[in-house]
Symmetry: C2
Subunit: 256 residues, 2 copies
DNA sequence: CGATTTCTGTGGCCTAGTTCAGATGCCCCG
DNA sequence: CGGGGCATCTGAACTAGGCCACAGAAATCG
């Protein structure tokens, strides 16, 4: 059971009331914060909300506010109607290393896995067409995947590929192979320039469902366009990450 | 008065009930979403919460959830105990352009201003020392500033500068001059490499107070280290942005 | 033994209030 | 005309419940 790990030990509680070293508002939920700092391991499930309101002698709304707060801080996360969990450490994601997902994850002693949700052909809408420099309505490949780290679904990504660049690419096992590896080895296309657009928002309905996240959970959007050695945009992707799952890094010479 | 702009016009309401084109949960607050899409201008203040619960026939908690949701989406923001406002368009922030803040803002037809909160000398803690490659406890310059776009406080930034690189820099008017300009013209130091670390979190107490944001509002953290032409780390800064204020962009060659 | 159904526990979402503290502006007084 | 106090308006935080939809496991049926 989890009962011992979250017990608001009397000494901790009394020190919290006497200590004013934590200047945050005395909102009851900061108990949680303290208690969390101690003995909870990554991905461990918190007790149910109803159990916690009893244990901390508070109400549903107050507790919920507190949990949402901790979620925004990236300390806990939730799975839709399943419960609250302690966030694992963030994956360091080097934007310019351009490592395949699996390599990046495994280099940090984590376990990666990928699941293909859909792969097919669609007509490019205005946004995709503009990004790829093709005519609106042109047919492109569209690949939607979900990626996991240590079993946790953290990334929903939707690729759009120029069909003239990668004919027949859907016949490969897209769950097993890295796209960039396929580009290089099967199509002799190397990514020689990337362009990113980053913003923090919330999950849309599709991504939320795919990641088992609640609609309205905070998300990090990463839109990326890949250019080949001839400066031609060959594909783009829209990534939506659980915002607590990554820390982006980047090192480069500024364009003076 | 604002009364007319947010009126839930009966035709709009009826069309909302018949239209199922918006698949989001029928949570009442999506009314707000619709209404917002229409006639509200950037930075315009929403009616008070008490006024809205009456107008939409809902309760405080429900309305608040909805507002927090819209805040997470980046569509509205709040100032501490002052009210809710419509978010202006995001500033496009090119990480590698390394434009001074003022230039970047003005190039997008917005108005920038800067306020120096504090400037002095402090002993480098472990984190700062590691970033700058100096001994822990070495004295460094520390500059804290708040930046505004169109009058709205959007950025709290804390710089740490190596004192041996920039002797006497505190004597300049740090509210008027760009730091990178001072580096170049007064100290002959050019930034030839930058290293970033990005994560989405919430404001800490200090930044929240400085920006007039509620504690717990979502924030985008940008930590940056600048290296000079000799590869030496000369300064670093910790930026906390209102998360709805920026959209980060970036274009570069990947490190193969 | 496998597939289906049912049941229970969970978060999601909602109602209807109250108390508190900061922000603002008004007004009065010097 | 300027400054200090005070009333008012605001969001912040909280109490005490309720119903609903979905997830997961257990029980049941073919």
């Amino acid at each position: 059971m989890l009962s011992s790990s979250l017990e608001p030990q009397s000494d901790a509680a009394s020190s919290a009331t006497s200590d004013t070293d934590v200047p945050v508002a005395g909102l009851k939920g900061k108990l949680l914060n303290h208690l969390e700092a101690a003995p909870l391991r990554a991905s461990q499930r918190l007790p149910s909300e109803r159990e916690m309101i009893e244990r901390f002698a508070t109400t549903r709304v107050t507790l919920r506010d507190t949990l949402l707060q901790l979620e925004a801080e990236g300390r806990i996360y939730r799975e839709n109607r399943r419960g609250w969990f302690v966030s694992p450490p963030r994956l360091r994601y080097d934007l310019l290393a351009c490592l395949p997902f699996r390599d990046m994850v495994e280099s940090q002693q984590r376990v990666a896995s990928t699941e293909v949700l859909a792969a097919g052909e669609v007509a490019a809408n205005a946004v995709i067409a503009r990004r790829l420099g093709i005519a609106e309505g042109s047919v492109v490949y569209r690949i939607t995947r979900v990626r996991r780290i240590d079993g946790r679904r953290v990334l929903h990504v939707c690729h759009h590929l120029r069909r003239d660049c990668f004919p027949g690419i859907l016949d490969f096992d897209l769950g097993a192979h890295s796209l960039t590896d396929l580009y290089r080895h099967e199509y002799a296309i190397r990514v020689s320039r990337v362009s990113f657009e980053l913003a923090s928002t919330v999950f849309d309905a599709e991504a939320a469902a795919a990641l088992n996240a609640a609609q309205g959970s905070p998300a990090q959007r990463i839109t990326r366009i890949n250019f080949d050695q001839n400066g031609r945009a060959v594909d783009c992707d829209d990534e939506h990450w659980r915002h607590d799952a990554i820390e982006l890094t980047l090192s480069a010479a500024p364009q003076s």
